[in-house]
Symmetry: C2
Subunit: 200 residues, 2 copies
C-alpha cells in the first residue's frame, strides 16, 4: 500500500522485526511492509510491581534493545503479549494438561489481552512505545471441546493457550477493542504511534 | 479439529458453501471443514420495511434455497453481510470514487456490520438461520490515506468499501462483537446455532 506513513517507515532505514512470532510477521506483511526478522534471546521477566500494561511495554522495549546491537542503522519493532484473568498473568502452557487447565479457566468468562510494542531507531536509540488492551469473552466450553482444541496443537506456543485466529474462534463470541492486538500486534495503535515518529 | 459438533456437521451429509466469497471459504477452512462451493445467481434485493438484521437473514436464506435445488442430500451454508451507517445500508462500491466517498463517511465514526447466515438441509429443507452484529470504529483518515487504501483495489468487492482483514486494519482501533462477523461469517454464532441442529 502506498500509504505515506508506512512508506516512510519502510523507506527511511531497514526495518527489522525483533520477534520470532509467525503471527506478528504475517500481520506486518499484511500491511505490505518489507522487513527482516532478528530474534535475540531475552529473559522474559519484568520487575515486580509493574501493571500488566507496564509489563508488556517493559518486555517489548527489552526485546527491541536486545536486538539493536547488531544494526548500525535500522528501525526495530518488538512486541510482547500478555493474557490477564482475575489480575493474574497467564503465560504459555508448559504441556497439554496446563493448556487444558488454562482453557477451563477462560471458559465462559471475559479476560484481557495486552500487547506492548516498541519502535527503536538505531544508532540514535530513539525509542517510542505504547500498549493496547482488548477484552475477550469466551463462551462456555465443554471438556470435549477443550480437549479437541488442545489436540490441534495450536495452544502450546500461545499465551493463554489459544489463538483467536485459529479454531478457538468458534468459542469467542465477543471482543472489545482491537482484534489484531489479541493476535499479537495492535496494528491501529502501532500506526497511530508511527505517525509523529515518521512524519515528514 | 476433532470437535464433536463440527465433525457431525461435516460427516452427516456433504457440506456445501453457497457463497462465492473467498473470505467465507477461508473462514470455514480455518475450522478444518471440508466442503464444496456452489454459487447461484440471486437478486440481492429484500422486501421493503425489513430491518438490517432481517434483511441479512432474508438474503442468506434466499441464497441457501437458490443453491439447494442441485443437491439431493446436503447441508448448505449461505450468508449475507450488510454495513449500516446512520440507519442506511452501504453496499459495495460501484467504482473508485464511490469507494472513496464511502470511506470518507466511515472515517472517525462507528458503524455496524450485520452478517445473517442460514443452514439448510436437503431434502427435508430443514432450515435454521441467525444473525450477528458487530460495531466497528474507524479512526479519522486523511484523503491521502483513503486514496492509498482504495488504490490497493481491496475495497471494490466489499460492502462498505473495506476489508477488516486487509490494510484498512491500521485505521480500525476498536470493534465490539465478533471479528469474523465483520470479515463475513460469524464463526462463534454459527457454531452455537449448529449445536442443537447437529446434536447426537
Amino acid at each position: 500500500m502506498d500509504n505515506p506513513i508506512l512508506h516512510k517507515l519502510m523507506a527511511e532505514r531497514p526495518l527489522v522485526l525483533a520477534s520470532g512470532s509467525p503471527r506478528r510477521k504475517a500481520l506486518l506483511e499484511m500491511l505490505g511492509l518489507r522487513f527482516t526478522v532478528h530474534v535475540s534471546d531475552v529473559a522474559e521477566d519484568a520487575p515486580a510491581g509493574l501493571s500488566p500494561a507496564e509489563t508488556a511495554v517493559y518486555l517489548a522495549e527489552k526485546k527491541a534493545h536486545a536486538s539493536a546491537a547488531g544494526f548500525s542503522k535500522a528501525t526495530l519493532i518488538a512486541a510482547d503479549t500478555i493474557v490477564v484473568l482475575d489480575g493474574e498473568i497467564i503465560g504459555k502452557p508448559a504441556d497439554r494438561s496446563e493448556a487444558i487447565a488454562m482453557l477451563r479457566r477462560l471458559s465462559g468468562r471475559t479476560h484481557r489481552v495486552y500487547t506492548g510494542f516498541s519502535i527503536l531507531k538505531t544508532p540514535e536509540m530513539q525509542c517510542v512505545s505504547d500498549v493496547d488492551c482488548t477484552a475477550v469473552t469466551f463462551n462456555e466450553m465443554t471438556e470435549a471441546e477443550i480437549k479437541a482444541y488442545v489436540d490441534t496443537g495450536s495452544p502450546m506456543d500461545k499465551a493463554g493457550a489459544y489463538g483467536i485466529q485459529d479454531q478457538s474462534a468458534v468459542f469467542i463470541n465477543r471482543i472489545e477493542g482491537c482484534f489484531y492486538n489479541v493476535v499479537g500486534f495492535p496494528l491501529a495503535r502501532f500506526y497511530q504511534t508511527c505517525q509523529p515518529f515518521f512524519a515528514e
